[in-house]
């Protein structure tokens, strides 16, 4: 479609071309109803905003859940009558019940991993950035794109509804291992809530597959003239690899979920064998609970990179723009993302070292897991060398990007500990694991997301976010994240297990009582500051400082050649042609040279 629109030109008064091409990609100013503009919209920019705002709502819910269970962990002796007022029997006597605690941690994990950091992160930025950065009028299929959001919305509705079921939402952990998750009589949360969880996840998988198909096909097919793959900004490469990972790994989770639904509702024995629940001997035999773990982690591990890669891509772009320097080692960046992509599929069993996995097989998974350190180190090196002697502008987006690099290093290093099968015997399911994945995957990806929001907010809403609130947001979150998760490493090394509601009667871990109280206090402060960000976000949509120039950051990529408020179709005239890569900063005495500028007489082709 891109070359079609280039050759036809004169986009404003143009005849629609029916037939094999999509005909929606032109800057017509026809009147749109509220419904077609904001609700059932096929414009990629609006769909991106829908993903972002739905993601923000989920992040508030998921974050609030963590505050609630941190309240229990930090103050196991105290009672909070207001909790009983709010949650009734779930917090009888003002104390969070065991079932409620498990429901909270399960929903916290599910919501943040899938609904916020998968849909909210790649859904948002893939939709907003792909057509703008590759010079396309819209996605390959606007309709599939709309479906992708509405399946996500459907998944959200089902998951949200599950919070209000009498027996509560799913509460077997976000990994929903059978047999706990397969048997309704095993726990309250394994009753109706678990079915809702599975149905919601099935809808979610369909959503992310539809989205992923579209992202891949758009990036490969609709790039504007002159934009070869090696001229793509790293954000595009990252989103491309993310989509490939999603398209190849989510279907495997779907097959696991389908089999689990069979076990739950049709009495099959895929994952169940020889079980006695509360004295009742179940008829199931011949199933294997470990099988589910294989199916789950075959998605589950790539999922980590589905979350992390878009953040890496955006951070690369933002670091380069705000250092006023080309990204260091562009091809090495692409190559290392490719390597991460391949390795992501070959390491899933490192989540299963203690399931009785053959130690010989484990050795290979150890080796492949530790190999991921190589591309990760390449990326870190390149980010730091991009910053090195740069003309750094500390915009809020830039601060979050630097924060991402810091967190990625801290969290990545503990990954080397956990990747060893021998050390993992001690560290498995302790707070060391909690600290590791929260820093490297949770908080780091959130930082990438915040960096992206601060950096591209002017493109989304034609206004800036408030800087003062942004700086408070950054510093409190950055310091707070380390204060929350750093101490957990010590508790984990001492062997303190995760998923326990109360350690106060456990002599060995009594010494961490003060530390837990401290962590909980910081968690509440950090959560409050996220609300400040949410306020800043919605306030600035309407009242923020207006963007007055097309290219406020002085960036090279194509999205900054569109009008300040781009219409449906993005460019009012022809789609611009690209003549160079995205990272000509500080070249030939010029601060930046946009991608659309032809190669000069004294330049070599890039």
């Amino acid at each position: 479609m891109s070359s079609e629109t280039i050759t036809l030109g004169q986009a404003v008064a143009e005849v629609h071309s029916h037939g094999s091409h999509d005909a929606h990609g032109h800057d017509h100013h026809h009147e749109e109803s509220f419904l077609s503009k904001y609700i059932f919209c096929t414009d990629h920019k609006m769909i991106g905003k829908q993903f972002l705002i739905t993601g923000i709502i989920w992040a508030i819910i998921g974050g609030l859940f963590s505050v609630l269970f941190r309240l229990q962990l930090g103050y196991p002796e105290a009672t909070f009558p207001f909790l009983e007022d709010l949650f009734g029997k779930w917090a009888a006597g003002g104390r969070i019940s065991n079932e409620f605690y498990y429901a909270l941690v399960t929903m916290h994990g599910t919501i943040l991993v899938f609904f916020v950091l998968t849909a909210g992160l790649s859904g948002t930025f893939a939709n907003i950035l792909i057509p703008l950065q590759i010079g396309a009028r819209d996605m390959a299929s606007g309709f599939l794109n709309m479906l992708s959001y509405w399946f996500f919305f459907g998944a959200s509705v089902v998951m949200f509804a599950s919070l209000f079921i009498q027996t509560g939402p799913a509460s077997g952990g976000w990994t929903v291992y059978p047999p706990l998750s397969a048997l309704g009589q095993a726990s309250e949360g394994s009753k109706l809530g678990m079915d809702f969880w599975l149905i919601s996840m099935a809808l979610f998988i369909v959503s992310s597959l539809l989205g992923g198909l579209n992202y891949i096909s758009t990036i490969l097919n609709l790039r504007t003239k002159g934009l070869s793959m090696t001229r793509l900004p790293l954000t595009m490469w990252a989103i491309f690899f993310t989509a490939v990972l999603g398209v190849l790994s989510f279907p495997v989770l779907l097959s696991g979920a389908v089999l689990l639904l069979f076990d739950r509702n049709l009495g099959t024995s895929f994952f169940l064998s020889e079980i006695v629940v509360k004295g009742e001997i179940l008829p199931n035999e011949g199933g294997s609970a470990i099988l589910f773990q294989h199916l789950f982690w075959f998605l589950g591990h790539p999922e980590v990179y589905i979350i992390l890669l878009p953040a890496m891509g955006m951070v690369s772009e933002i670091l380069s723009v705000n250092s006023r320097k080309p990204i260091f080692g562009y091809l090495a960046m692409v190559g290392s993302m490719f390597a991460i992509c391949i390795l992501a599929f070959l390491v899933w069993a490192h989540h299963m070292f203690v399931t009785g996995l053959n130690p010989f097989l484990g050795a290979f998974f150890v080796l492949l897991t530790l190999l991921i350190a190589v591309p990760s180190a390449i990326k870190v090196f390149n980010w730091i060398t991009t910053l090195w002697k740069g003309n750094v502008r500390f915009t809020p987006g830039m601060l979050f990007a630097i924060g991402f690099v810091s967190l990625f290093i801290s969290g990545g290093l503990t990954g080397i500990f956990l990747g060893n099968s021998t050390l993992d015997i001690h560290l498995h399911d302790t707070y060391f694991v909690v600290a590791h994945f929260h820093i490297v995957m949770g908080v780091a990806s959130f930082f990438g997301m915040f960096a992206g929001v601060y950096h591209w907010f002017p493109k989304m809403y034609s206004r800036f976010l408030n800087n003062t609130m942004a700086y408070i947001h950054f510093w409190v979150t950055f310091v707070g994240a380390y204060l929350i998760f750093w101490p957990m490493h010590y508790a984990g090394l001492a062997g303190m297990p995760r998923r326990y509601t109360d350690w106060s009667n456990w002599q060995s871990f009594n010494m961490f009582a003060d530390m837990n109280r401290f962590i909980s206090t910081v968690a509440m402060i950090v959560f409050a500051v996220q609300l400040l960000f949410v306020f800043n976000f919605f306030y600035s949509i309407f009242k923020g400082r207006k963007v007055t120039s097309k290219n406020p950051w002085g960036a090279n990529t194509l999205e900054w050649t569109t009008p300040i408020t781009p219409g449906h179709g993005n460019w009012p005239g022809d789609v611009p042609e690209v003549h160079r890569w995205a990272y000509d900063y500080g070249k030939d005495g010029r601060e930046f040279i946009p991608q659309t500028e032809p190669i000069g007489a004294n330049e070599s082709k890039h």
Partner: protein, 187 residues
């Protein structure tokens, strides 16, 4: 425009990526089957004879959808619609034969689901069932294209929708052949 012609149409490309994705789902299921097979209490599966007939039906339907596409390219609209309808009917026939095949298990006192069921038969049901859903999707696509072809007041010779549907149809056919060989070989 020439540049565009050499490139694969975005919709066709999207379909190929989707095929890769669906393949991953069945790769997950069949590898689960292999893992399960090596464990205790696995039963030898009897493949119902009806599955051979359904396999024949879906093989022939691949041929008819190709004939339909050929007719459309030659702009022989009557023959195009006829082959399209025949393909859809063969698709439905495939599904009916599959369901009848599973009914046979019940007649032979083999439990596919519920108490006393064995995972080997449940796998057969789950995997074939998911494949059947994909065939059903293909039938719906063919019917939609056929209805559009019958309703049109102006002639439309755009072959892309049918090409996409035909590729998908061949895919579910080949997928079934793979599963059928897999079940016969791995029983």
């Amino acid at each position: 425009m020439n540049d565009q012609k050499r490139k694969i149409h975005p919709h066709k490309f999207t379909l190929w990526v989707a095929i890769g994705s669906i393949l991953m789902m069945f790769a997950g299921l069949t590898s689960a089957y292999i893992v399960k097979r090596s464990q205790v209490s696995w039963l030898m599966i009897e493949i119902p004879i009806l599955f051979w007939y359904s396999t024949a039906a879906i093989l022939v339907s691949s041929l008819t959808v190709q004939l339909s596409l050929k007719a459309l390219k030659a702009r022989e609209m009557m023959s195009y619609r006829r082959w399209l309808m025949i393909t859809a009917v063969l698709g439905v026939l495939f599904l009916v034969l599959q369901i009848a095949g599973f009914k046979q298990f019940g007649a032979n006192d083999i439990r596919l689901v519920g108490a006393g069921s064995n995972a080997s038969y449940s796998f057969l049901l789950a995997i074939s069932g998911l494949h059947g859903l994909h065939v059903l999707g293909g039938v719906i696509a063919l019917v939609v294209i056929a209805i559009q072809a019958l309703r049109e007041t102006t002639r439309n010779y755009n072959t892309i929708p049918l090409e996409v549907a035909a590729t998908y149809w061949h895919f579910v056919d080949v997928l079934w052949i793979y599963l059928f060989i897999f079940f016969n070989w791995m029983k």
